[in-house]
């Protein structure tokens, strides 16, 4: 029993190694193969896929839009998420439980259904526009989806709970005495918030932003449904290339470029945040 204990973990490890590590390794290898017309690929090594992925101005524009949407969604989520997190961290007992239910229940509904909810709200003949028209505020209505705005709204909605939980966790870890100590030393409530609470919540902000950015640049359903194929992002392009054009090496190279680009963004971000958080870690 004791000697065979590793058997417990063996199935899980096998699952992840065979169906996760190996496929991604395969994807990396695939990105160096040659696209073919009769089969999805031809096993001849080439750098051509990367040349296409990096040289093509259309692909650049798509990548740029993907990263831009990632940054915008992250900033918007942070700005909406911080007040929610602050409110949640200070609640207690039943109120807190109720707020958690409200916050987390959207996570239990699939992304397709939630996107559909936004479609009902944002469509040209949707609820928001019908309200705007009837009230006479905007007789022509607004174009609220099948554009970047719609994608942004859907994205922020889906990832907001992650940001809130991440920041609330950091806020709850701040000893309640710390802002009080600042008050006892003559800081106003506002000053205590900006000088003590905000800096100490940065680790949560950091983690939340990272998560939202990574999730946004790789999201697929929302750009398709709320962008209506008018907002092409790299994940869409990857799937199109792989499934519709059956160019696997090309799709693999695009995926690798997206990973590399988001890693680069994350790298810049991490070094910036590390400077801001120098007393907090370790």
């Amino acid at each position: 029993m004791r000697r065979a204990a590793w058997l417990l973990v063996a199935p899980a490890v096998a699952l992840v190694v065979v169906l996760f590590v190996m496929p991604y390794a395969n994807l990396l290898v695939m990105s160096f193969f040659t696209p073919a017309t009769t089969a999805p690929y031809e096993p001849t090594v080439t750098l051509g896929n990367y040349k296409v992925a990096l040289a093509d101005s259309f692909q650049w524009r798509v990548l740029w839009r993907t990263l831009k949407l990632g940054v915008l969604a992250t900033v918007a989520t942070l700005m909406l998420g911080y007040p929610l997190a602050w409110n949640l961290a200070r609640a207690s007992g039943r109120t807190k439980a109720a707020l958690l239910v409200l916050l987390l229940s959207p996570l239990l509904v699939g992304v397709v259904i939630r996107s559909f909810g936004w479609m009902v709200l944002l469509a040209d003949q949707g609820l928001v526009n019908s309200l705007l028209r009837r009230s006479g505020l905007a007789p022509g209505g607004f174009k609220l989806m099948y554009n970047e705005f719609g994608v942004l709204v859907g994205t922020v909605h889906i990832f907001l709970p992650f940001m809130v939980l991440s920041i609330a966790g950091a806020l709850e870890n701040i000893a309640p005495d710390l802002p009080l100590a600042a008050r006892s030393l003559g800081a106003s409530a506002t000053k205590a918030f900006w000088r003590i609470v905000v800096p100490l919540s940065l680790p949560g902000v950091f983690a939340g932003c990272l998560l939202v950015f990574v999730l946004t640049v790789s999201s697929y359903v929302i750009p398709v449904l709320l962008g209506g194929f008018k907002v092409i992002t790299t994940p869409l392009l990857v799937v199109q290339t792989a499934v519709d054009v059956s160019n696997w090496p090309g799709a693999a190279a695009q995926a690798v470029v997206l990973f590399a680009a988001s890693l680069a963004c994350i790298g810049v971000y991490v070094s910036l945040m590390n400077r801001a958080m120098r007393g907090l870690s370790g």
């Binding site: 417990l8 199935p11 699952l15 397709v112 009902v120």
Partner: protein, 268 residues
């Protein structure tokens, strides 16, 4: 004093608005499914169950619905067993091994759509073919197992091992100790992991999109295909049904182990 009260009121208003934003699309889906018109407009056009009738009469939707339920059930069982076993080993025998822990939750770290693509190409490379039931099931197990692993681990970290030692000192063998002491005490973690796994599988989209085949289309993909080209409130009926099933699962779990354990992995 009045100024700070005003600021406080404005802040509370903002919080309420944000929660409305969070809940709105879900409430809207339910409302749209009961609306008689094609579009939900203001004022509402009237109450109707026609979209539900349309759903039940749609062979494609019903087939996908049943298929998704069965797939999620099977995925949950496999993922829970594998994930629980792995958690037992990692927490008890390899507490220090960060590598092992990171490896087991890695499927949650990379985007599902990329994992799906990698799997599609990989299946083809090993000769499993692109879209088989086995391939789809394994893909689902892959992205659901980490939830079971994480929730059970969370419970096991707080598990007082002297309880097991007490059972052993009273003459219970290793298996009996596991069955009578350990399992009942980590039940909350196992169940909440299973709920997460079930919901993740039932709502799973990217894996299903690329690995689901003809006749084996899970429900979210069926809805997605529908919405891609048309705006049909039948999707709202499906969505409402989906929400109801999720609610039932959550409520049943709550009755069994308490809702907190869903969020905290049975830690509190």
């Amino acid at each position: 004093m009045t100024r700070s009260k005003l600021a406080h009121g404005a802040f509370l208003l903002l919080i309420v608005a944000l929660y409305v934003f969070l809940i709105a699309p879900i409430v809207i889906v339910v409302l749209a499914s009961l609306n008689s018109g094609r579009f939900l407009v203001f004022p509402p056009e009237g109450f109707s169950l026609q979209w539900y009738v349309k759903f039940v009469n749609s062979r494609a939707f019903m087939r996908s619905f049943m298929f998704s339920l069965k797939l999620a059930a099977l995925t949950t069982v496999i993922a829970s067993v594998i994930g629980t076993a792995a958690a037992l080993y990692v927490v008890r025998r390899a507490r220090q091994s960060t590598t092992l822990r990171l490896l087991l939750v890695a499927p949650l770290q990379l985007p599902g759509i990329m994992t799906a693509l990698a799997l599609l190409i990989f299946y083809y490379a090993v000769g499993l073919g692109g879209t088989t039931y086995l391939g789809l099931l394994l893909g689902h197990v892959l992205v659901c197992m980490p939830y079971a692993f994480l929730t059970v681990s969370a419970v096991l970290y707080n598990f007082d091992r002297s309880l097991e030692e007490a059972a052993r000192s009273l003459g219970a063998g290793a298996w009996r100790t596991f069955a009578r002491i350990t399992l009942p005490l980590i039940k909350g973690g196992v169940l909440s992991g299973a709920v997460f796994a079930f919901i993740t599988s039932f709502d799973q989209f990217p894996i299903s999109l690329l690995l689901g085949g003809v006749g084996t289309t899970p429900l979210p993909v069926q809805v997605f295909d529908y919405l891609r080209f048309s705006f049909d409130p039948t999707a709202a009926a499906v969505g409402t049904l989906n929400i109801v099933i999720t609610l039932i699962v959550v409520i049943v779990t709550e009755r069994l182990v308490g809702l907190e354990s869903l969020y905290w992995g049975g830690q509190r």
